[in-house]
């Protein structure tokens, strides 16, 4: 079943010499010890372009394959029934794969190519769905290759404790189209998730998506031209930093969606990222299809989120939108019927304790879009807002309706739905306390020219019931479309405690701001 190493010397020697050259060039960035295997120069067969050393006893998949070969069978066989701590090496070049590659319960597996550009797997003719799916297992590292045109998800990992993806690419080439697969990198229901140095391009859903997982570090990735660049959904203890989100419909999303097994997330920190020019047309479907094009970052129904020290620029709708789920579904009367079970498990349409600070904001809001926001956009672009004159669309937009209804006691009836565990975790529909507030301060106007000077904070609804002046015939509050400058702001002017850093334990090494990045500048602020 295993490919023998003999007979492959020529290729390996070639690869080794180029690998050594890379090491000589400083190809090892020094941050990348996540594999837990030290580089033993005497035993190595090759070095990937990222500086990862491939030892002599590695399992080689189709080592003699040449560009364009179909390596499906060799790959399937090599990854079936692996020994613990196996190191499986994909060949160098561009190859065809015609089925989903499924790996079960792998322990300590490293699956590597020769580099993010050196090993490319083309799934455009695949009869399967996901390109790679890792189900169960622990301590799995996936690195140094690209996955192209997956029919569904690129690299999925579900129910894994310890999943590391680095220097991978998940790519759908050409225009962003609705048929461009699903998620790129897709850890789901996993623990100890480390995604770094990856490139996600062209997904009709999220390029980099972490769902229903805990203890997560997402850093140094680039997500380009996806519907959602980076999305953290129903996940807890996540740090998203030093990433670039560019050219997506929405740059960085933090979502809690109803009805999932892990009902809600929280303690998500988004910091030191660049989210710019996320103005792609939204070709997505489902909830992500509702994300307004031109959104730098979006927090939807997730509590305990800190967004700081990011550079969020050139997004045509807004830099950061913070919204309850009521924007997606305002039929409150049907919530018990449609969401009763998940609300019992702690999902809430409201969000609390979202804190934006020290972000640099520039050139957003030039052309606000999105069906979901259309009434809000219409209000701010006309006289129908609190200033009575057209306004530059707010760089920070907060819907405020969940808070308003909570403060008015209108949601108190939902408290009866909340289960004991969720209650103990602080889930309730009481009026917001100080610690529940959405706050924004110390953000920086990065506009270079006077015509961009207006950087605003907008509230669709006031959070204080006594400020409600506009109601419909039934006494329900109407949008007020309050607006305020971002610097020296009145609205949202408060401070929240800092959130704890995420800790990823991968193969008994600690990653993140309290681990290998202890000295990283992004972690200092």
């Amino acid at each position: 079943m295993r490919q023998a190493n003999t007979g492959t010397k020529l290729l390996l020697v070639t690869a080794m010499s180029s690998g050594l050259l890379l090491v000589g060039c400083g190809g090892d960035d020094g941050k990348d010890g996540a594999d837990g295997k030290s580089a033993d120069v005497t035993a190595q067969l090759a070095v990937t372009t990222s500086g990862f050393s491939i030892p002599e006893d590695a399992i080689l998949v189709a080592p003699e394959a040449t560009d364009g070969d179909d390596i499906t069978e060799a790959l399937s066989v090599a990854l079936f029934d692996l020994p613990d701590d196996a190191l499986v090496v994909l060949p160098k070049g561009r190859f065809v794969v015609t089925e989903s590659i499924v790996v079960n319960s792998a322990s300590g597996l490293t699956l590597t190519g020769y580099g993010i550009n050196e090993t490319a797997l083309d799934f455009s003719a695949s009869n399967g769905d996901d390109a790679f799916r890792f189900q169960g297992g622990n301590g799995i590292s996936v690195r140094d290759f690209g996955v192209y045109e997956a029919p569904k998800n690129g690299i999925k990992a579900t129910n894994v404790n310890g999943i590391h993806m680095t220097f991978t690419a998940t790519v759908w080439e050409g225009d962003l189209e609705a048929s461009n697969g699903a998620y790129g990198l897709y850890p789901l229901k996993s623990q100890n998730v480390l995604l770094e140095n990856n490139y996600a391009f062209g997904s009709a859903d999220a390029g980099i998506y972490v769902g229903q997982s805990e203890n997560i570090v997402v850093r140094n990735n680039t997500a380009k031209q996806n519907v959602a660049g980076i999305e953290i959904e129903n996940s807890t203890m996540a740090d998203v930093y030093n990433n670039i989100a560019v050219g997506n419909s929405g740059g960085i999303l933090v979502f809690d969606l109803p009805g999932l097994d892990k009902a809600y997330g929280g303690n998500v920190r988004v910091f030191n990222n660049q989210a710019y020019s996320n103005n792609a047309e939204n070709v997505g479907a489902g909830v992500v299809g509702m994300v307004p094009p031109g959104t730098g970052a979006l927090v939807l129904a997730t509590s305990d989120v800190e967004i700081y020290n990011n550079r969020i620029t050139d997004n045509a709708t807004t830099a950061v939108a913070i919204t309850s789920y009521l924007l997606v579904d305002d039929d409150l009367a049907s919530y018990p019927a449609n969401y009763g079970a998940t609300m019992g498990n702690g999902w809430s349409p409201t969000l609390k304790n979202v804190y934006l600070h020290n972000n640099t904001i520039a050139r957003n809001g030039a052309n606000p879009q999105g069906a979901l926001l259309q009434p809000v956009i219409d209000g701010y672009s006309s006289n129908l807002n609190s200033k009575g004159a057209p306004q530059t669309f707010p760089a920070f937009l907060y819907d405020g309706i969940g808070e308003l209804l909570s403060n008015a006691g209108e949601l108190a009836g939902f408290n009866a739905l909340v289960g004991i565990d969720a209650q103990a975790d602080g889930v309730n529909y009481d009026p917001y306390g100080v610690g529940d507030q959405v706050c924004a301060n110390s953000n920086i106007n990065g506009n270079p020219a006077p015509d961009y000077d207006a950087v605003n904070t907008g509230l669709v609804y006031p959070d204080d019931p006594t400020d409600v002046t506009l109601v419909d015939g039934a006494g329900n509050p109407l949008p007020h479309l309050l607006i305020d400058q971002m610097v020296n702001n009145t609205y949202l002017n408060c401070v929240q405690p800092r959130l704890a850093p995420a800790v990823v334990n991968f193969r008994n090494n600690i990653y993140g701001c309290s681990g290998d990045d202890l000295a990283e500048a992004a972690c200092a602020l």
Binding site: E99, G128, G136, T158, K189, Q212, E214, L257, G286, A341
Partner: protein, 426 residues
Amino acid sequence: MKHDKKAIGVALVSSIFIAACGGGGGDSSGTDAAAPPSNVLNFGAGSPTGSEGSCSAVTDGVNWDALMTEVCPRLSDYNLFTNAGDPTAGPTRGGVPYDLSTSLFSDYTSKYRFVFVPEGAAVGYTPSEALDFPVGTVITKTFALPENTAMRDGAELVIETRLLIHRADGWIALPYYWSSESDATLAIAGKRLTGLTTVNNQGQTLSFDYSVPKAADCTSCHSIVPDLAGPDDQREQVFLPIGPKARYLNKDVTYPDGTVYNQLQYWAEGELLSGLPADFNQVEKAAVFNDETNISSISSSELNAKARAYLDINCAHCHRADLTLPPDYAGPAGSSGVQLEYNRNYDDSPGKFGVCKDPVAGGKEGYPYDVIPGNADESYLLFRTETTDSRHKMPELGRSTVHREGVELLRSWINQLPRASCSPDP
């Protein structure tokens, strides 16, 4: 190695030879008495010896030891069928055929199932989960595409035989592809067959590709996964059979000798099954649905029962969480918002069945919710059963063509569900 006294001299000699080679043909200990016809179904079946097996062992009965330790290149190496070229009938001594009341759709194939339980062991009854098959159990399932689904007794193409083997360290699955008339070969990487055709019950000719799954694919459905409780939770997924649950076995079948018997009672009287409740009314019974079911002529409660059985056997091996599972385990799609198990109470949470639920990992324009009671045609769940686009299709594996009869069942079910907030105005 001992053999029962039925064994003729030649077999005895060859089995001694095998023992010397470290092979094992079986241990029929405790049945030395001159074999009177026994009502024990696996009487004389033999059992694993615990020694390392050999694929080349020549055994009188099932090659138990090879099953327990070896991944053999040919199906015939395990000696599970008296005619090695026919996995649809004639199991080796101890093999018992079984059938399910409603079964997973697999591209209109007919399925031939046998269970082999080692002599001296029995299956434990469980009310809702897969029966408790002892270590040593082997389940074979052969897939054959009939020329005409209305005449399943007629000509057919035998495509593949899948084995589920319960070894001491858990179940494993092995797919064998019938590469020739005489034998099936191991297909770890699966096999794709193009341009198969059949004629369905409506007389329509269907043409499609067929995928024999890869060995690794089996776990995608045949497992329950731990709901990892924290950073130190190292539990692993557990491999399990899906179909042989009491509720699907609880039906009458005609056995090769012509007798008609409830399968569970047949197993219990044959000492193959222990713990069957004395009060048979306690035993769950899934409704029968097959391509002969006339949906237009059944009551709404029958429709609901059949749809729930269909959703359970086709979807709920993945789309399941809690209920009768071990604590903190779920199906592989247990993290999805949609859970479709037989035992889930619809009225408690229609949202778990996708009612008025936004698609999360997926979605398609024109299908705003997974299930819209009264509007099946815009329900994403139904679309996913109607499409063969691998971006959207459900189930993800093992279906290359649309199960038109199943889709019609689900369409009728969705359209008769109690109206919900996302339903069209009456």
